[in-house]
């Protein structure tokens, strides 16, 4: 859009034909009061970006999908008895992997990748695998000097998000940005910092309670009881703001465990407890969904 700004005539100015022509011609194109200047450019449509906010979306059923909601034939993810934990990718009822992809989403700075997932799970165990393993503490019995050993019951499975940023073959899975692989040596085993666990969801392996505690002391008449978790669900969300160009070809969920809370002098960890692992400690899972959305956040 244009504005016509001309120097006004002053007393004593000569009647210069060239100037008179220029003054009148100024009202001609491109300064015309016409459809372009009054309608199109006046509203400055060229200044409105035509790009949409959503660039890519994808969603898929994972695990046994919709068919598994009644838990008739759940899948099984094993627990680890060696370090590091084996990460079990989700498969359908026929054993086929259920990743989200392949696609090729080109993320650049100013974009955001948002991922959401949920999964039906049921931790299974036999006996009291927590006895003698991580998380045990002594509780004083009454006013005596003797004590009762109980477990804090913090053992958990993890469901973690992985991506393939190598190619569309979906054979180069790695932990997503900022997510630890729980392979750092810590406490005589391996684990990862809680601060590096933005794309992992814990599932309690069992529920332990001591109903007879009083003022932090053992009441003496009731023992530690365990409560099966039963069918429940884990759900998570993860956001990624790339600092530079990156191509994402696929996403998937993996199950691994069993972990226990641990700490050093400065950090909180989840550490792998191979002592509670075994054939009878498994995580059953059925259906869920994995959804990703690639959006533009800037111009």
């Amino acid at each position: 859009m244009s504005r016509i700004i001309r120097t006004p005539y002053q007393p004593g100015d000569l009647a210069d034909p060239a100037r008179a022509n220029a003054d009148f011609a100024a009202f001609s194109q491109p300064g015309a009061i016409d459809g372009f200047n009054l309608r199109d450019a006046a509203i400055d449509l060229p200044q409105l970006a035509s790009n949409i906010i959503i660039l890519n979306t994808a969603t898929t059923e994972v695990g046994t999908g919709a068919a598994g909601w009644q838990h008739n034939t759940p899948n099984i993810a094993p627990s680890s008895v060696v370090t590091p934990a084996t990460k079990t990718p989700l498969v359908d009822a026929s054993g086929n992997p259920t990743p989200l992809g392949p696609f090729a989403w080109n993320l650049v700075a100013g974009d955001v990748l948002r991922v959401y997932w949920d999964l039906s799970v049921r931790p299974k165990y036999a006996g009291t695998p927590w006895v003698g393993n991580f998380g045990e503490i002594d509780i004083q019995i009454g006013v005596t000097s003797s004590s009762q050993v109980v477990n804090l019951g913090g053992h958990c499975w993890l469901i973690s998000l992985q991506w393939d940023i190598t190619n569309a073959s979906l054979t180069n899975w790695t932990e997503v940005f900022g997510q630890t692989g729980y392979t750092s040596a810590v406490g005589g085993t391996v684990g990862g910092r809680l601060a590096d666990s933005p794309a992992s969801v814990p599932v309690p392996a069992w529920k332990l309670s001591t109903l007879n505690l009083l003022n932090g002391k053992w009441g003496g008449s009731s023992i530690e009881i365990d409560e099966p978790t039963g069918w429940t669900a884990a759900n998570g969300a993860w956001y990624y703001l790339p600092a530079g160009p990156i191509t994402v070809y696929g996403l998937r969920l993996v199950i691994h465990g069993i972990y226990n809370p641990g700490q050093t002098a400065t950090e909180n960890y989840l550490i792998l407890d191979t002592g509670v692992g075994g054939n009878t400690q498994v995580l059953e899972y059925d259906g869920g969904t994995l959804t990703a959305i690639h959006q533009r956040t800037g111009a």
């Binding site: 060239a18 008179a20 022509n21 979306t57 429940t232 869920g288 969904t289 959305i293």
Partner: protein, 235 residues
């Protein structure tokens, strides 16, 4: 229509006042009346993909604009708008698999263009205790009785069962010394706090309905907290 001066002045000639006045008169006419019909586009040039009328629904907490739909509603805090489900309505104890709506937890929005929409939901519930006798296979064992909650889009006839999430019955039953409370508190068993997000594409105009539905094998299930929200973007 552009302005064209009717008179042009030449060097070495007298600048005629009539010609100057003629140019000025023509300019005056142009400035006042120069926008002829041809300069105005008769056909629509800005349509709904450029501008969407804003709309705010304070009751549902929804806002609509050029970008799409945003907003939702919740229970307003613990027990403010608690809701429920029950096996007595789903028939879950008797071999039926009837999904029923969770009362109050639905939104309806007008979809005016193709849209990608994220439906976010959350609930916190307590299930049971339900220690009614089991009668397999029609009535599951106490510790196997579940309440499943799932989102639905469009109609409760189409629950997104792949996104169903379960909570187990508070299966220790009622207290041995007092039947006014469960044997085990809900922080041990029978409590479920779940959340989820699903994606839905709309290829045309219409109405989108989003809600929560349930399939319960447990007698009494109370939703203490819940939230449903949409985040939709026009394409």
């Amino acid at each position: 229509m552009a302005y064209t001066p009717p008179n042009t002045f030449l060097p070495g000639t007298v600048v005629n006042s009539v010609q100057v006045q003629g140019n000025s008169d023509a300019l005056r006419v142009y400035l006042h009346d120069g926008i002829v019909a041809g300069d105005l586009l008769a056909a629509r040039w800005a349509d709904t993909r450029h501008i969407q009328s804003p709309q705010v629904d304070p009751y549902l907490g929804l806002q609509h604009g050029v970008t799409g739909w945003q907003g939702g509603q919740d229970s307003g805090g613990p027990l403010v708008r608690a809701t429920f489900t029950t096996s007595y309505m789903t028939g879950g104890k008797y071999g039926s698999a009837e999904w029923i709506p969770v009362p109050q937890t639905a939104l309806r929005v007008s979809i005016r263009r193709p849209m990608q929409l994220l439906y976010h939901y959350r609930w916190e519930l307590i299930a049971g205790p339900d220690n009614a006798p089991n009668d397999a296979p029609r009535i599951p064992d106490q510790d196997e009785r579940l309440v499943a909650v799932a989102p639905y889009i469009g109609s409760v006839q189409f629950p997104a069962v792949a996104s169903a999430q379960d909570t187990v019955n508070n299966h220790r039953g009622w207290g041995a010394s007092s039947t006014f409370s469960p044997e085990n508190p809900y922080n041990i068993v029978g409590w479920g706090s779940k959340t989820g997000t699903i994606l839905q594409s709309f290829n045309g105009i219409g109405t989108g309905t989003f809600g929560l539905c349930s399939y319960s094998e447990v007698d009494r299930v109370a939703f203490l907290n819940w939230q449903v929200a949409v985040e939709g973007y026009y394409l």
